[in-house]
Each structure stands twice: as structure tokens, then as C-alpha cells.
Amino acid sequence: MDWDSQFEMFMPHGMCLLWRPELMSLHVLSDALIALAYFSIPFGILRFVRERGDLESKHHRLALLFAVFIALCGLTHIASIVVLWVPMYIVEGWLKGVTAIASVATAVCLIALIPEALKLPSAESMRREIAAHRTTMLALDAAHAALAVRFDRTEGELRVAEQHRHQSTALLSTVIEAMPGLIYAKDRSGRMLLANKATLDVIGKKWPEIEGRRDDEFLGDPRQAEIVMANDRRVMESGQVQELEEIVDHPAKGARVYLSTKVPFGHTDDAIKGMVGVSVDITERKQLAKELLHVSRRSAMGEMATAIAHEINQPLAAITLFLDGSITLLGEEHDGLLGRSLSLAKEQSLRAGEIIRRLRSFVSGGDDVKRPENLTLLVDGACSLALLGSRESGVTTSIVHREADLAVECDRVQIEQVIVNLVRNAMDAMSDAEGSALRIETGYSDDGMATLSVSDNGPGVNAEVAERLFEPFVSTKGVKGMGIGLSICRTIIESHGGKIWVEPDAGSGATFRFTLPSRGQVAAA
């Protein structure tokens, strides 16, 4: 095709219209208006595409394609106007060709889009749907408001309930803390759930240190912990309330006895979840009961001692005076064997009176006649009396003083009485044996007390008897003894702040031992 010669080769389209002005005008005007309308549409589409950012990209492309197609249609109408005067039919033909391609492409795309377009709801149905949505939203808002009101009310009730709970918890914990006794709770495996202040004081630890722990993890003495835990287990296994005595060391006061009431909890679903315990320190009460027993024993002995004193002092006084009279009668011969024997007899009779007097004044809580004494000298003196006749009966005696001076504060007569008693008992115990050996030893014990021991190699004391030996009216001597000697010994030694006990020897024989506070300890006390 010849692009340059087309203007000369063809005649303008106006010639076909015979240049008739009315027909020319109609064509030009119609084509111009169509072109104008066609050109305006792409601008509308471009604006639509630019402002609707939510378009899918394929729709976006389709819209642009549509705009191009419309614009090209517009151009063909412009070309129709131009060719009325300028015969550029080749240009116009190509323009139509391009427009045709764009038209076909647009049509194809649009037809493909029809099913999708069909799915689009109409504006009316959209409005109806929106209205329905709005109704639903209103109902939802109302429900929400109602819920908020109910929530507010429930929250108020909860707050009140919480306040009540808080109040009763505070009340309970105040009661638990204020109780002088121990209150605690443990779970099924013995772990601490709760402990009041009194409990923490006894354990000597703070709550975080024992929370969730078992007794064997926080009690100092493993044996005590084991016993306590065994008691807890028994309560939880049996499901029964139990009342029992337990011993636990107090950090300041030492071993204390507690009366514990232990209650299992968690009965509702038949599974025991743990236990609650209440323990009261009854150490003083027990001590008091023991002292009461001691006092009643002493007062019974006091009455007996008074009766004995009166009855025995009478003949003792007569003996003394008969002897004194006899000595006087001897005149110058009172230095002879007879005179000396009578004097010794008189001394012993006075001594017996003195013993009874001291014993009576002691058991009836009379005069306290404790004086500073040297225990070694006192032992020597008492032994010289107690050992009378021992050599004849074949007893080998040894007295060992590990210290020359054992300063004690005591009632001389009473302690002499104890020593004589122990030595006499030892000799009685060995009376049948060959090679009897008696050993008396004084010194200081490990804790600084003055101590004396009397050991024999007789038949010894069996453990069962040893426990009761210091009780009144317990005797191993059969008809020979009344069984009050050692009981009086214990009363005397304990009133001096000492202790007396028997150690059954491993081989044979027995060792009786007593301790007395030494002077230093008495001064310090």
C-alpha cells in the first residue's frame, strides 16, 4: 500500500455525499458527538480504576482494555469525519483494524466475565442484606449491653463474696496465730500445708523454710521426726482422730512433751487428703505431776519419820544416859578398855539420834543445814564407820580419791548417811562371795559435778529391778531389808540438786553412783 499517495489516489468521502451541506453536517455532527462520548468514557473508567483500589488485577487490566477499546472506537469516528475531506483511507482502515482487535479482545474478556458478573448481587439485594445485617447488629448490641449489665452485677456479687471470704480467712488466721498451742496441717504424704507462729517457734524456722517439706527435712532430731511422721500416718490411714504425746526439741527450752490431737481431713470423697494437728506443751504439767508424787511420797515419809523419831529417841536417850552413868561409875578406870567401849557405844547412840533428827527435819521440809564440805573427807569419815567389821568378813576395800579436794555444799549428816547406806548395801550384796572387793571412788564427773561411786563384785542388779530400785519398799534383800534405804538416799541426793543411779556392771557386781553440784556450780546457780 502506498501511504504517501493515498491522498492523491482516492477522493474525499464528502464527494460520496455530493458535498451536500445538510448531509455533511449530519455526519460530522453525529460522528463528533459519538467521538466525544466515546472519549469521555475512558476518563470515567480511569478515574474509577484509580479510586477503587480494591479491584483485582485482572479486573483492573480488563477495565484498562475496555478504556482503550472505547477510546479507539472514538478515534474511528474522528477518522470518519476527517475522511470526508481528506482521503486517508489506509490510515482509517488500520485504525479500524486495531480497534477491531481491541474490540474482539474486550468482548472475549467480557464474555468470560459474564458468569462472575452474574454472581454479583444486585444493589437491591445488597440493600436488603445490609438492612438485615443492621438488624442483627442491633440485636447483638442489645444482647451485649444486657450481658454487660449482668456482668457488672455478677462482678459486684463476686466482690462481696470475695470480701466475705477475705474477712473469714483473716479471722481464721488471727485465731490460728493467737492460739498458744501449735496448729499445723499436712498433706497425705506429710508435707506442711500450714503452721502457726507457735509451731514455727518450736521448729525454729521460718515458714518458707518448711512450707511443703516433711518433718524429717526440718526437725533437728531424726528419731523425733520419725515418730511424729509415724503418728501422722496412723491418723491418715485409720481416718480416726487420735490424741497422743510427742516429744520435740524446742530450740531454746530443750526437749518438750506435747499432747497432740490429730484429725484427718478430706472425708467428703472418701479419700483422706491430709491431717490437721493441735499440740499443747504439757512439759510443765507433767513435771508438776511428778513433783506432786514426790511431795506426797515425802509427806508420807515425813509422818513416818516423825513417828520413828519419837519412838526411837526415847530408848536412845535411855541408852545414852545408862552408858554415861556407867562411865561415871567407872571413875578413874574410865580410860580403860571398858570405859573406852562404853564411850564409843554412847557416841554411836548419840549419832543415831542425830541421824533421826536430821532425817526428820529433812523429810518434813525442816531446817536447811547445808554447809561447805570436802566430799573426800566426808567419804573417809563415813567409810570408817560403814566398813566396821569388813576385814573380818574378808572384803578387800579400796578408796580412791581422784581429787584431793572436792568442795561441795551439803548437809554432812545426810550425805554420810547416803554413803554408809551404799557401802553397807555393797557389803551385804557380797556377803556370800569369796574374794569380795569393794571399790569407792570420788572425783569430778564430765559435767563438773562432784561424784562418788561404790562398786562391788557381788551378783549385780538386773535391769528390771534397777529401774525400780530407788522406789520406796523395793528391796533385793528379802527379809533383811525394808526397802526404804535407797529411796531415802535418792530423796537426800535430789534435794541437794544431785542424781543417784545404779550401773549394772558388764561382768558381775554393780556400781552405785551419785553426783552433787560442786561448790563452783552452787555459787553459779
Binding site: H310, N313, A317, I319, T320, L321, T328, G353, G366
Partner: protein
């Protein structure tokens, strides 16, 4: 000198009476013994002497006897001798007018010393 004093002994216990009488005689005193307070009081005109009496006796006891004697204006020295002395009894006896309180058993030397002491004012 000692012989000029008679010792009146009151005790319900025979051994006690006999032994005290015996011992005092060996020391050169004369003595007379009574079973109880009423026995002694029956002797209207008791010789000048010293009274040694037990405290606990059937009938009137030693302290009551002493009080009675003092009420009657007697200045006779009184030594009470008891098998069951305690602080209360001693105080009671002294306030009743006893010159001494001794405890049984007691050595003769002690009794003699007390007799000398209580009679010293009369010598």
C-alpha cells in the same frame, strides 16, 4: 553443893526415868521421879530443886506444866527434854517459862551443864 539440889524427873517412859535418875545419881545429884505432871503436882511442898520434864506425856504435857508452875509463881528452874524438838515447840516452851529445852538423846554432860547454868543464879 550439888547435893543440895534435888532433881525432879517427870517422864512417862520407864527406861527414860530410870536411866536419867541413875546417871544423875552417879554425878552426885539426888533425884525423884514422877510418872506424869499430875503425880508431880500432887507433891504439895516440892523441895527446892530443878525440874527435868518430858514434853509429850499422857495428861498435861511439859509445856503446860511449866506454864502452870509460872502462873503459880514458882521460880523453880525447868529443863524440858523432848524426843521431837522443833522450832515451834522450843519457842513455845521458852515463852511458857522453861529455862532450857534439850533433845533426846542427850549426853549426861549436856544435862549437867544445863543444871549448873540454871541453878547458877541460886548459888
Amino acid at each position: 553443893m550439888t547435893a543440895s539440889w534435888i532433881i525432879h524427873i517427870i517422864d512417862d517412859d520407864e527406861a527414860m526415868r530410870t536411866s536419867l535418875l541413875f546417871a544423875l545419881q552417879t554425878a552426885g545429884y539426888r533425884g525423884s521421879a514422877y510418872l506424869g505432871a499430875s503425880d508431880f503436882l500432887a507433891q504439895e511442898e516440892a523441895e527446892r530443886g530443878v525440874l527435868i520434864s518430858d514434853v509429850r506425856m499422857p495428861g498435861m504435857n511439859g509445856v503446860e506444866l511449866t506454864r502452870l508452875l509460872r502462873q503459880r509463881g514458882s521460880t523453880m528452874p525447868v529443863i524440858l527434854i523432848t524426843g521431837n524438838a522443833n522450832g515451834t515447840l522450843k519457842a513455845e516452851a521458852m515463852s511458857a517459862g522453861a529455862n532450857a529445852v534439850l533433845e533426846k538423846p542427850v549426853a549426861l554432860a549436856v544435862i549437867l551443864a544445863e543444871i549448873s547454868r540454871v541453878t547458877a543464879d541460886w548459888e
